[in-house]
Structure formats: C-alpha cells, structure tokens
Amino acid sequence: MLPLLTEPEKQAHASFIALMQALSYPGRPQRLPAAGQPAFVAIGEALVDLETSYHAPDPELAAAIARTGGRQRPVHEAHYQFYPQLHPAELDSLARAPVGSYLYPDESATLVLGCTLGSGQRLRLSGPGINGAVDVQVGGLPEAFWSLRAETVRYPLGWDIFLVAGDQVLGLPRTTVVEQL
C-alpha cells in the first residue's frame, strides 16, 4: 500500500520545492503553499528542526517556529533567520550573522526576509541559475541592506537569502551578483 502523504509533509514538500526552484533560478518568483506570516512559518517547518538553530525577532513567529523543536539563538549564531519586516536598526546586528568558514562554507545563515516584489529598488541579478541577467524590483527592505550584503558576500562565504512577498518567494543565493539600478 502506498504510504500516506500527510498534510504537514505535503506542505513541507511544497515549501521545499518552491525554495529549491527559487534558489536554482534566482530572480524567478516561486509559489509557497502559504502567504504572509504563515509563509514564514511554512518555510520554518520545512527547514528547521531540533538539529538546527533559528532566530526570529517577532515573538509570535518565534513561538510558531519553536514548535518545530529548533533552538532559538542570537543573530550571530542562528543558521535560519526570519524577518517578516527587516528594520534599519537591525542591520548592525544582522551584519554579524554567520557567513560560514572556508572549510565549511555551508555553515552560514539562511535569511528569510519579508519584502514587496514588483515595486521599490530595481536590481539586476546575474550569476549561476540565471541565463544572462534578470531585472527584479524589491521593496520594503532597508536601503543599506544591499550594500551590507555586498560587503558580506565573499564567495564562497555569505548568506543565502529568500525574499518573501505574500505567497511568492525569490531566491538569492550567495553566488548571485546584485547590481542596484
């Protein structure tokens, strides 16, 4: 008999496939199985468990992700970080989020950031997963975020970013070169 695909597993699978395609084709929005705050929880449930650490300044979101069994850790330690609304004041602490080491560049932070797509800062993306270059518009992030990212990414070190707007997710792996237009 075929094993049952339970509802939580189905959602985790859908979230993961969206994240994987988003990271494989940066600049192309993918659809998550939930929208708004539940989209952040869905990503948390797909990736975080008691083997990983997370950080979420929003207490409600932090409580929802805590149910996965993940360990809440400060910004400079957490491997999965969730910011439905990233405030300019948070950038100083975000700058210390782990970027991995040359021996283990995979031990770096994955940032899940709330934003708006289709309005705001115009960006030109290029790099692996992009055939040539692609233009996107991302709003709702502090202006200094992009310069912070540019300073932080020293390939192979750096953050991998998921930009969430509604039920859409845009992947921004550390390999992506972001040019502000």
Partner: protein, 332 residues
C-alpha cells in the same frame, strides 16, 4: 483543544518516500546549501535504506526527498532504463511515493541516473540526480580527506594540474576516462560522478539542476542551472570527449551519440546507443509512430550544442605531438 485521535496519523508501514521527516528535512537543507555553493561537497547523514550502500543510496535519498505525487520519474543505469539496478530503484521510488514512471527523458520531472546524462537535452525545471561512488576529485592526489578539505578551502588544485601534466608526458594525452574533474563556477573542483567525458560538457550552462549524491561517502553537491562547468585542461592541450565518429548504432543506424561497444566473436565490434530511452524514440519514429525526439546535446554531425565549448583539436595536433612519449629512444 484537538483530541489525540485528531493529531495522530493513521497507522502505516512506511513514511511517505520511505525516509522519515527528519531525514528528508536534513537532506533538503543540505540540498539548498549545495545549490548555493556549486560544486562544494556538503556533508549529510546518509540513512539506511533497503538497498546496500554503493548501489545508488545517495541518489536514492535525494530522489526520495524530492519526489512528490505529481512527479514523473525516470531511472537509468549507464543509459539503460531496463537494467536490474535501475528497474529496482524505479519500482522502489514509485512504491514509496506514488510517482508516475517513464523512460522518456523529456516527460520526466526527476531523472535519477547512474553514470550517464541522457542524450536529449534536459529542460528548465527538470532535476537530474546523479549517483556518486566517490565524490572527492582530490582523492587520487590527496588520500587524507581533512587535507583535501583544506585544499578545497584554499582552492589549491596545483596537484591536479601536475597530475594532468604527468599524464601528458607519460601517455601523450589525458588518460582520465569517466569522472573527468571539472571546475564549477570558477571555484570548486568537482567530480562529475563517473559519467563518460562525452557527458561532461552537458553540465556546462545547462537549463536543468543537477544534484549529485554519494550515500556511502555521505556528501552531496550540486550544479545549478546556467552555471559554468569547465573540465580541467591546458591552454594549448584541450579536453576531448570520446571519439564516437564512424560508430553506427546497430538498432537505429544513428551516429555521433555515446555508444556501447558489443564485441563479436570474430574480433570486430558492433555498437549500440547507450541511452535506451533515446533508442526507443528513434525506433518509434522510424516505424512512423508518434514520438517526440527532443533536441540532443550533440547533433547528427557530432557538434556540441554550445558552439566553441569543445575546442577543435586541429590547431593543436602539432603541439600535442610534442608530448607524445618517446618509446625506445633516448632524449636528444
């Protein structure tokens, strides 16, 4: 407050996709990191499966954590859909996830392969999962895995170039056949798994995502779509694929595809295209049945679809002659 009966799952023999939720989540996390770090080997906890390690458990774990009920899966072993290993893996994946199965490269959303990339070009959104016996391209020059990791950290691949040079002075050409080492995204040296050299260029600026996973060695890595993948070569002596010219498939009559050689009792050889899914389509087409044969990586004339990626050997034949071994004579 929900009751316990509402919270509990119905009793069943296996989890969906055989692996438990923890295992799948871990694999998924590692896959995302692998995609963000093209060619870097991400360690993971390889789980027990009902097949022995070394029989494709790495690829199988990746496939099981990727597959959903709407997927269509193709499994090949050295190009063949019908080999024992491929058939068993395909049946297991289908029983554990309910995916549809196919032998048609273009119809599959997920392709698990042992040591071949299909002849037909994969498209955007398709995922190729390659089974990997030995993920470490440096093993031949550095058996200590800790030191090899340090070499990757430093991008210190000098020993590989030395090895390549030694091959030239000893044998007059690069002798590495399968798993020809490549540099991915100008950074990491990667073993493309033991695919023939013929398949290595197919990874370069491909439209599809490739995931490579070694179950026994507990490492997985990825080549994202549209990523540079260059075989290591010298500025004046080039990487070359296996020469298939003059070989004609005994079933379809096609040429310039990767062939299996079938030695005959009289000492001659017959050839057959190694990709059985592709043969199937060509045969259908020749019978006049409806079959959509996709674009191939190499055209009828044997030209690779990224013009200029495989450099012509014409210009450097004189140069490579300088490297031919001097048999039975001293240096002048």
């Amino acid at each position: 407050m929900p009751s316990l009966a509402q919270l509990a799952q119905p009793n069943q023999d296996y989890s969906y996709g055989f692996l438990d939720a923890f295992a799948k989540r871990e694999l998924r996390r590692r896959m995302l990191k692998a995609i963000a770090l093209p060619g870097y080997q991400v360690p993971y906890a390889s789980r027990e499966l009902p097949i022995a390690r070394g029989w494709g458990t790495g690829g199988l774990q990746v496939t099981l954590s990727l597959a959903g009920p709407n997927d269509t899966v193709k499994v090949i072993d050295q190009g063949a859909d019908d080999s024992v290993n491929a058939a068993n893996l395909r049946r297991f994946i289908s029983r554990m996830t309910g995916v549809a199965t196919t032998t048609d490269t273009n119809a599959a959303s997920l392709i698990q392969s042992r040591h071949r990339i299909p002849e037909e070009r994969l498209n955007e959104g398709q995922v190729l999962v390659l089974q990997v016996p030995d993920p470490e391209p440096l093993r031949g020059v550095q058996p200590d895995i800790s030191r090899a990791r340090q070499m990757h950290a430093d991008a210190d691949y000098a020993l590989m170039w030395l090895g390549l040079y030694e091959q030239l002075v000893r044998y007059g050409r690069f002798v590495q056949g399968a798993s020809y080492p490549v540099i991915v995204h100008q950074r990491y040296l990667m073993s493309p798994s033991p695919i023939p050299r013929w398949d290595t260029p197919s990874l370069h600026q491909a439209a599809h995502l490739t995931l490579l996973s070694a179950g026994r060695e507990k490492r997985l890595y990825a080549v994202p779509p549209y990523t540079d993948v260059y075989p290591i070569e010298f500025a004046d002596v080039y990487f070359q694929v296996e020469d298939q010219s003059g070989r004609v498939c005994m079933i379809t009559g096609a040429g310039n595809k990767f062939m299996d050689e079938l030695p005959q009792t009289d000492g001659t050889s017959l050839y057959r295209i190694s990709d059985t899914g592709y043969i199937e389509k060509l045969v259908k087409q020749q019978r006049g049945e409806a079959a959509h044969v996709g674009e191939t990586y190499y055209d009828e004339a044997g030209q690779f679809y990224h013009a200029g990626f495989l450099k012509s050997t014409q210009g450097n034949s004189a140069r490579s002659a300088d490297f031919s071994p001097r048999v039975g004579q001293d240096a002048d």
